[in-house]
Point group: C2
Chain length 300, copies 2
Amino acid sequence: MTLRVIGLDELRSVVTPDLVFAAVRSALIAHAEGQTQVPLPMVLDFPKASGDCHVKAGYVEGSPHFTVKIASTFASVNNGLMLVVDATTGEPAAVLADEGRLTAWRTAAAGALITDAMAPAEAREVLVVGTGDQARLQAIWLTHLRPGLKFQIWGRRPAAVTDLVETLQAAGVQARPVTESAASCVTTTTPATRPLPIELFGGAQHITGVGTDMPGKGELPPGLFAGATVVTDDHEQCLDHGDFGNAVRAGVIADGIDLSVGAVLRDGFTRRTDRSIADLTGLGVQDAATASAVIAALGG
Amino acid sequence: MTLRVIGLDELRSVVTPDLVFAAVRSALIAHAEGQTQVPLPMVLDFPKASGDCHVKAGYVEGSPHFTVKIASTFASVNNGLMLVVDATTGEPAAVLADEGRLTAWRTAAAGALITDAMAPAEAREVLVVGTGDQARLQAIWLTHLRPGLKFQIWGRRPAAVTDLVETLQAAGVQARPVTESAASCVTTTTPATRPLPIELFGGAQHITGVGTDMPGKGELPPGLFAGATVVTDDHEQCLDHGDFGNAVRAGVIADGIDLSVGAVLRDGFTRRTDRSIADLTGLGVQDAATASAVIAALGG
C-alpha cells in the first residue's frame, strides 16, 4: 500500500488565506444547516510531559473525504497531522503532515470570519489578548478581511507583547502594545484556565474567543455573557468545554440562548444587544473542508 | 517532515501471534489496573456508501507511544491505519498502513485469550458463530493457545460455512459445519443487529462475543446474561455499545455486576456460575500496545 504523505512545504505551496476562508466558511454554514458529522473530540493527557492531544473528526455531507485530525501540544509546542480518508470507500487517501499548521490556519480563519461578520463596522482598532501563534494569526488574517485595521496587543509578559508587535509590524500589520484598552472589538487567544481581567472588555461591543478549547480552560469572565448575544461554532461542544459552557455553569445565561456561527456567516448579523460574543471551540468539519480544499488544489 | 509509513508486507514480516498475544494481554491488564487512557471512540456513518468509520485512541501509561486508529468498513470491506505518536514529544512517529489487519489481529488475540482463560478445561469443541474474517481468526488464534481444539461453524449462509470450514481445514485447524450445537464454549463474531438464535447456546458454559462493537449492534440474546458471570473489556464502553449494555437495558442484569477481562487474564478464573460471558468491544489500548510492539520489533 502506498500512502501519500503531503509535507508542510507542499501544503504551503497551495494554501492561501482565501482557500482556507472559503473552506471554513462553507463548513461552518453546512454545520449550522445540519449537513455535517462532528463526533465529540477525544482528549489524551500527558501531564509528565506537559502535553495533551486532541483528536477531532469531521465530515461535510456530500464531500469526497472525511478527516481525522491529531493536534498535540507538548511543552507549548504544537504538532499534529490530518488523515484524509475517502468517504465513498473508507480508504486512506493522504496524510497531511502539517505539523499542526492547518489547525492554526483554520482557527485563524474562523475567528477572523466571525469577527468581521460581527464587529462594529466603525471599529478601527481591535484588541488582541494573548501573544502566541494564534494571536499573531488572528491579527494577520483579520487584516485580510478588513484592510487597514489597527491592533492593540495585551499580554501578561511585556517582552512577548513587544515581540509580537514587532513581528506584526514587520508583516505590514499595524500594532501597538497596550496595558489597558477601550477597544470596541476584542479577540482572545489564550490558554487561560482563569478568566482574563474584566477591565480589558470595558469598551467591547464584540468579543471573539478562540482560546478555550478543552475542559478546564476558560478565558472570558462569565459576567460578560449577561445580556449578550452569543454565537457558538457548535452548541454541544461550546456547552461542554467553551466559554459559553462556563457562563452557563456560572448561572449567568441559559443554555439555549446561543445562535450558530454558521447562520451568522450565511445570513449576516444585525446588532440588537450592547454586546455580542462568539465562542469558538474548533470543529472537525473545518479540518475536513480545509483538507479537501488542499487535496483539490494539489490536483486531487 | 518525513513520516515513516510502514506497509502491510513489512508488518507481516514481524507480527506473530505471540507478539500480539503478549501486547494485548499486557494492555488489557494495564487497563484493568487503571494504567491506561481510552477516550470514548468516535463513529462516523456513511449510509449511502454502506460504510462506517470508528476512531479509537489509546495509551498505556509509561509507554513510548500512543496511537490513534482509524477502522473503516465500507460495503463489508475493512480498511484503516494506525497513527503512532511519540508520547513524550507529541510528534507523529509512524503510520502503520495495515489495511485494518492489526485491528483484526488484536481482536482475535483478545477473544482467544479470554476464551482460553474462561472456557471449561475439558472443552474439546468450540462453536464459532459467523463466517467472516474474525470467525476464521478466532478459530486459528485459539488453536495457538489450545492446540487440538475442534471447531463447529454456524452461519446463516451454508455456502459461507462450507468455505470457512475448508479454509480452516487447509490451515490445519479441525472444523466442521453445524446447523445446531450443544458446545460448552461459543464464540460469536457477527455484525448482527438482532440476537442470534438462543438454541445455539443451549450447552454453553462460556460465551465470548466479539461482534458487537457499536451502538445498534447486538448478537447475544439478552436472556443469556441472567445469572451469568460477566466480564467486559471496558465497563463504560460495553455498557454503551456492547452486548452487556443491551442486556442491562433489557432489564436482565444490573449495570455493576461485570468484572474486567484484564483482571481475569491476570488472576485466572474460577467458575462459580453455570454460565460465563465475555463481552469484548475492542479497546484503543490494544492498538497502542500492539503498535508499540511492532515498532520495537522493527528496530524502534
